[in-house]
Symmetry: C2
Subunit: 292 residues, 2 copies
């Protein structure tokens, strides 16, 4: 039998898949079909849907009906997807594959990849604006979302990451880059869940603190898995060929393992404000402990 | 002495320049300075600021304080600017110059041009969300803005334009492409001005009808000036080498002149709902009659 945590994860995941699919198919009759194909190719590529799951469960923890958060959860996932499409472009990371499939621009061409990213980013705000919550909450949610995704959030982090290539960064710089590049959107997901529930300022603050620490733990684990994975594939010593500003280069693998654990425990501590947080605590544990 | 219309245009233009400058300089201390430089390079390149002028004056016509519309006017201009940066990219139109200056990617590189476009688009929603109007109006304005700019609006039009290259389009297709590609954002500017003023549904509908017709008149005039300009430069007969789906190819120059005039007069007719519309009528006339 499936354990209750897995059942809930699957329920959240199925719901967001369906929500995103319905959104895209609503446009099926438009003449610019190729744009919707390109958007759907990346949006419906079967990601982990971590950000929507955070949004849904923070809404539930703050005693809201979690489905209320769907338009906001979808918006965060669309922004995450656009960022992957643009990051993969030849002028950026120039990646041909993502999760074992050809990247968007390899299938649809660069122009369509740029435009489908632009469309996902723009449409995210249309969908978020449809949330069935009081208008002041919607405005607040849209502000948080655009701040987290924009020049001082995710895009800013991407720029800092590019500018930091080929030089050694300080600990503070690496933290700043990661907080913006991946942390900001996880932050948005958790905070938007609480906003959708009509949660308190204290709950919003706790969600943001949790998200910041979990984002870091997640990224450190990612860096560790990259190094270990590369080492296994290449048959080299771990960390030797690492010229990027990763946490592994900064701290070494042993310290990284400690940090992942301590950040995760600290993050879980911020969930105390929510009476029923066992699912989120267990999700945080399993994310930090993951081996793939 | 300056005539009153010119004085008003200058007041609107100075105000939006100052507003945009202040917005960008507020970020001056952030480490990702190069991103703000790249955003500012295109955003403060001295465009005509037509869209903000529309937003301001529709706000005034609907008896609002026109300065209330500034965050919405700025958002429209930022979205217009991002679309120019992305359109100029090598994978799109591959333009080296715009208005006599190097394009964004020629100065900052492709990666930074993609990211500064992404940032302008995202930040536009942050700024729009700060409008000092009732929250329901802000949500409505953000919906209109994202619908007009997204997959069914401006980005959709851009995709249709790319897909229509190298085949002859019907009249309906050319109209559809232009309505989305340039009309949608002009529509947003006019409608957002009325929303900022707290105008009626009838005023919003009139602003949209005006914008649709003026957008077409503007685009037809653009196509005409392109052909005439090219002919003068190249010393060739007008229209002969025209393989693009323009209004000139569709209708010929003489019919185009008639259409510009009739669309403009029809557009001005929709201004009747606003008691004091002399400035906007005269602006519409001068835009349609322009020779550069």
């Amino acid at each position: 039998m499936e354990n209750p945590n897995e059942a809930r994860t699957r329920e959240y995941r199925d719901y967001i898949e369906q929500f995103l699919k319905e959104h895209l198919s609503a446009f099926g009759e438009e003449p610019q079909k190729q744009l919707f194909d390109a958007m759907g190719y990346s949006l419906l590529a079967g990601g982990k849907r971590l950000r929507p799951i955070f949004a849904f469960d923070f809404c539930r923890m703050a005693e809201g009906n979690w489905k209320t958060a769907a338009p906001l959860a979808a918006a965060v996932e669309m922004i995450h997807t656009y960022s992957l499409i643009h990051d993969d472009l030849p002028a950026m990371d120039n990646d041909d594959y993502r999760r074992g499939r050809l990247t968007n621009h390899k299938v649809y061409g660069e122009a369509m990849a740029i435009l489908s990213g632009d469309a996902l980013l723009t449409d995210a705000f249309s969908i978020a604006a449809q949330a069935k919550i009081p208008a002041e909450k919607t405005v607040f949610a849209l502000s948080v979302l655009s701040e987290c995704a924009g020049s001082r959030g995710m895009v800013g982090g991407q720029v800092l990451d590019i500018l930091s290539e080929e030089r050694v960064c300080s600990e503070q710089e690496v933290l700043d880059i990661q907080n913006r590049k991946t942390g900001a959107l996880i932050n948005a997901a958790c905070v938007l869940g609480v906003i959708a529930a009509g949660g308190t300022d204290e709950q919003i603050a706790a969600a943001a603190r949790f998200a910041g620490l979990i984002g870091l733990a997640f990224q450190i684990r990612d860096d560790m898995l990259d190094v270990i994975g590369t080492a296994q594939e290449m048959g080299k010593d771990v960390g030797c060929d690492d010229t990027k500003n990763t946490f592994v280069r900064l701290y070494g693998l042993k310290k990284c393992e400690e940090l992942v654990n301590s950040y995760t425990q600290k993050a879980i501590g911020f969930l105390d404000i929510f009476p029923d947080h066992a699912y989120m605590a267990s999700l945080a544990e399993s994310l930090s402990a993951r081996r793939v």
